[in-house]
């Protein structure tokens, strides 16, 4: 609903910030608390980009809050630096640099490890501030005497000293902060942040250097924290050492979770709830020190009950009241129920299809595109693949069959470099790719669709395909933080084209979680296709489908196969024999036999492999 006007959110924020002093002043809010909310709100924007958008839960943001704050306070109070604004910016830069260095270490691991490491790092900063750096930071006394900003514009003398006048300065800072953050989350980088949150494995498999993007999010969060830290010093005219405590990081996390993550505004709302409630509990109810107990209980209840915080709760309530959700669900059900009659048209545009692949076959048509030699994989004592020689010609549609446990999926994983082979070599398009990163292999034009769907579940179909297409259009890493997605040439066309290819044109704006199984399966193939591979591996694309869906998907694969090289694993032999020109049979990790479908059907070795020599027993009976 907020997508109608490109700058509606910015405009509403501006109006809100302008009206806030009047409304809040009228109800008797203290400007000091309002200013504090802005500091925490701005601090939280960076945290939301890190946690809400990229999915990295850090308990160490106090390190950057304190670093930025103390750097700004130090140059202002001890070095007599003239400009408060510049000091804040410098504090932000220093925090970002420190964030980069810390990110290099903390991002070596994800999930709970990341959370634990960030906790430990923040604690180190606290102790360093207190002891080795006490001479510069004032130790437990902090740095008093931080000035407030004042500007001389010609004859105009602007002084933002206290209360609502300082609010004006903070409001401008917050507004710039939110505008920048909105640009970031609407940029290609923002889309990839979400992809990392939803499914880091797939984000990397479609060709993005996710480590680089995670580090970017970490640095952005550190920069916001650093600037906000400086603001805290200005607000209090004193830089307190407790900015560095674990409590600061914890408060930020709690405020963000209370307000709701993934919207950029959650932390502001959370901070407002937190700080006003704190004021109220302390002054009006005489609870004194128990305010934090009450807030802690509220937090636990919210985490248990409202998964998406207050903003999420309000959103759900809005949906319930307007019936918006119900309508959408009904539309989804209808679309799912409607027979996908459009499955055939894709086959009618072979010319367009043929034009898509990234590497339009410079060699002669019969050139070898992939060659694996002596490929083996051992897991301890278990041999998954042993000594496989396998080659695929340009433009071929190859099938791979084999009983369960034959090592088909492991073989695919080695080809896409998800799994490192124990020995052997893989040459793709004339280049040795053995041991390369998955993202790099995908960038070269080799990718696969997964046996078990690996989608970006909370994003829409279009967003899913956009993420994959971005990898093809922008390369593995690019810092176009402020570019609009609409400004990327060819993106819309490629996404629309892929939607057509996998027959999802009717449901581009449906979240993946609401798709029917067959549709998810097609999107799975679509994600791989949108990266414009010159060689596409499909791991059991027909798995779990109904007979009708199978027939449609076979048609789909046929049309995709035009102009591309495809290798397909499946258990559905009838479909595979219909599709493939050549079939390779794997058994117990080895290549059993290779040949045309007819040869395979009549091969006694293959019959033995599948029927386990049953005809022998049958003969006895």
């Amino acid at each position: 609903m907020l997508r109608h006007h490109p700058f509606l959110v910015e405009l509403l924020t501006l109006v809100g910030l302008v009206l806030a002093p009047f409304v809040l002043g009228w109800i008797g809010a203290s400007p000091d608390t309002v200013n504090r909310v802005l500091v925490w709100g701005l601090f939280g924007i960076g945290f939301d980009i890190l946690f809400g958008f990229t999915g990295l839960l850090s308990f160490g943001q106090s390190a950057f809050f304190g670093t930025g704050g103390f750097f700004a306070a130090y140059i202002l109070t001890r070095l007599g630096f003239p400009s408060v604004v510049l000091a804040l910016v410098l504090g932000m830069v220093v925090a970002a640099v420190v964030g980069y260095l810390i990110g290099l270490i903390a991002l070596r691991r994800t999930g709970i490890y990341f959370a634990m490491i960030t906790v430990a790092i923040a604690e180190v900063f606290y102790f360093v501030e207190f002891n080795p750096l006490a001479e510069w930071t004032g130790g437990e006394n902090g740095l008093p005497g931080v000035p407030t900003p004042h500007f001389h514009l010609g004859s105009l003398d602007l002084d933002f000293s206290t209360g609502w006048s300082l609010y004006q300065f903070f409001a401008v800072c917050y507004f710039i902060g939110i505008v920048v953050a909105l640009r970031i989350v609407r940029s290609p980088v923002g889309a990839i942040f979400r992809a990392i949150r939803e499914n880091p494995l797939r984000a990397s498999a479609v060709g993005h250097n996710i480590h680089g993007y995670k580090l970017t999010a970490f640095v952005v969060a550190a920069a916001y924290a650093g600037f906000a830290g400086g603001m805290l010093g200005v607000l209090q005219a004193f830089m307190p050492p407790d900015a560095f405590t674990f409590g600061t990081s914890g408060q930020l996390v709690m405020q963000a979770a209370i307000g709701g993550t993934g919207t950029l505004f959650g932390p502001l709302l959370g901070a407002a709830v937190w700080l006003f409630l704190q004021d109220f509990l302390q002054s009006s109810t005489g609870l004194g020190a128990a305010w934090k107990l009450v807030l802690g209980i509220i937090f636990v209840v919210l985490v248990c009950g409202l998964r998406r915080g207050l903003i999420g709760g309000l959103d759900d309530l809005w949906g319930l009241l307007t019936g918006c959700k119900a309508k959408r669900a009904a539309a989804a059900a209808q679309a799912a129920a409607a027979p996908p009659a459009a499955a055939v048209p894709v086959a009618t545009t072979p010319a367009a299809v043929a034009a898509t692949p990234r590497a339009p076959a410079p060699q002669e048509p019969a050139g070898i595109i992939l060659e694996a030699s002596g490929l083996s994989k051992r897991y301890g004592g278990i041999v998954a693949n042993s000594d496989i020689d396998f080659s695929v010609r340009q433009g071929e549609l190859r099938g791979i069959i084999g009983p369960n446990g034959a090592g088909k999926s492991t073989f695919f994983k080695m080809l896409t470099c998800e799994v490192k082979p124990s020995s052997g070599k893989i040459v793709f398009d004339g280049r040795d790719i053995t041991g390369m990163a998955v993202a790099d292999v995908c960038q070269l034009g080799l990718t696969k669709s997964y046996q078990i769907n690996q989608l970006f579940n909370r994003l829409t179909v279009r967003e899913n395909l956009t993420i994959a297409a971005l990898a093809a259009l922008r390369g593995r890493f690019r810092l176009d933080l402020f570019r609009s997605l609409k400004r990327i040439p060819g993106l819309t066309e490629q996404v629309d084209h892929t939607l057509e290819l996998v027959n999802l044109t009717q449901r581009p704006d449906t979240p993946v979680a609401e798709l029917a199984y067959g549709e998810k399966r097609r999107l799975e193939v679509g994600l791989a296709l949108a990266t414009r591979p010159s060689l596409l591996l499909l791991d059991e694309p027909l798995a779990g489908m109904s007979p009708t869906e199978r027939a449609e998907t076979v048609q789909l694969l046929k049309s995709i196969g035009q102009g591309r090289t495809l290798v397909v694993i499946d258990h559905d032999m009838d479909s595979l024999f219909e599709l493939a020109g050549q079939v390779t049979v794997l058994q117990e990790g080895k290549v059993l036999v290779e040949g045309t479908p007819e040869q395979i059907k009549s091969n006694t070795l293959v019959q033995d492999a599948y029927l386990g020599g049953v005809h022998g027993t049958l003969a006895h009976a």
């Binding site: 946690f51 999915g55 839960l57 308990f59 270490i105 070596r108 691991r109 999930g111 709970i112 490890y113 959370a115 634990m116 490491i117 906790v119 430990a120 790092i121 604690e123 180190v124 606290y126 102790f127 360093v128 207190f130 002891n131 080795p132 674990f246 914890g250 996390v253 709690m254 979770a257 020190a289 128990a290 934090k292 107990l293 802690g296 209980i297 937090f299 636990v300 985490v303 248990c304 998964r307």
Partner: protein, 291 residues
Amino acid sequence: MVNWANFLSQMFNGLVLGALLALISSGLTIIYGTLGVLNLAHGAMFMLGGYAGYVAFSYTGSFPLAVVVGTLFVMLVGVLMERGIIRYFYNRPAEDQILVTFGLGIVFVEAVRFFFGSLSKSVPPPPGLVGITNLGFMVYPTYRLALFGIVAVALLVLYLVLYRTKLGMIVRAGIEDPVMVGSLGINVYRVFMLVFGIGAAAAGFAGIVNAPVVSLAPDVGEPILVQTFVVVVIGGVGSFPGAVLGGLIAGEIISITSMFNPGYAYVMLFVAMTLVLVLRPYGLLGSASRE
């Protein structure tokens, strides 16, 4: 500046702290390994053990009873926490689990602050263990000496539970492959409850036996939680031997660095953690499959 007696006694301090950290970290690591939940309230469990023991001590005057009450109380809190809240989070993202345990930790700390105030409380060591002991090569506080023995015994008990009982076997199997254990017809939910109780009890026990050494305050668990994290990162998640090894390493690093300059203790701990992360990302005795 550094003399041998001082160095030895710091080494021994490190051993005592290390053993204590090993015990607390074992609790954290078996909970994570079995249930997949990182308990950020683990530091609060340590604190609760101390306070529960303190209450028991102020009514009875008996230190052994204080230890028993402290341990059992925290075990009960752990079990109630698992039954009442944590079990509803098994199917939710790891981030939600972290948030809820973090929140519970704050609630525990603030509740204790509400009832007991922020001022620190102390529990004296039991009568026979007051004063100092002359070991020949150094003199050392008797209770600290005893503390090492007490914690070592506790670690041994935990080891026996993990490696010599049926429950321990299930727990260790669950750490390696939770899906497989679930499909063997074992009532994993009862096991989860017990593991959470035992893991919490380990922290609670450490909290009360440590109370005569360091006075009690509501936020006494916070640095312990941080140190425990470092121990687990160094030792490897889900590994009991890793927790013991990591605990001893961390304890020695903190003690020996403190001898020169306490301000650098955490810096050195951090350096050690970074080295492990770079050289052995899954921890000294951890493995990728356990995560």
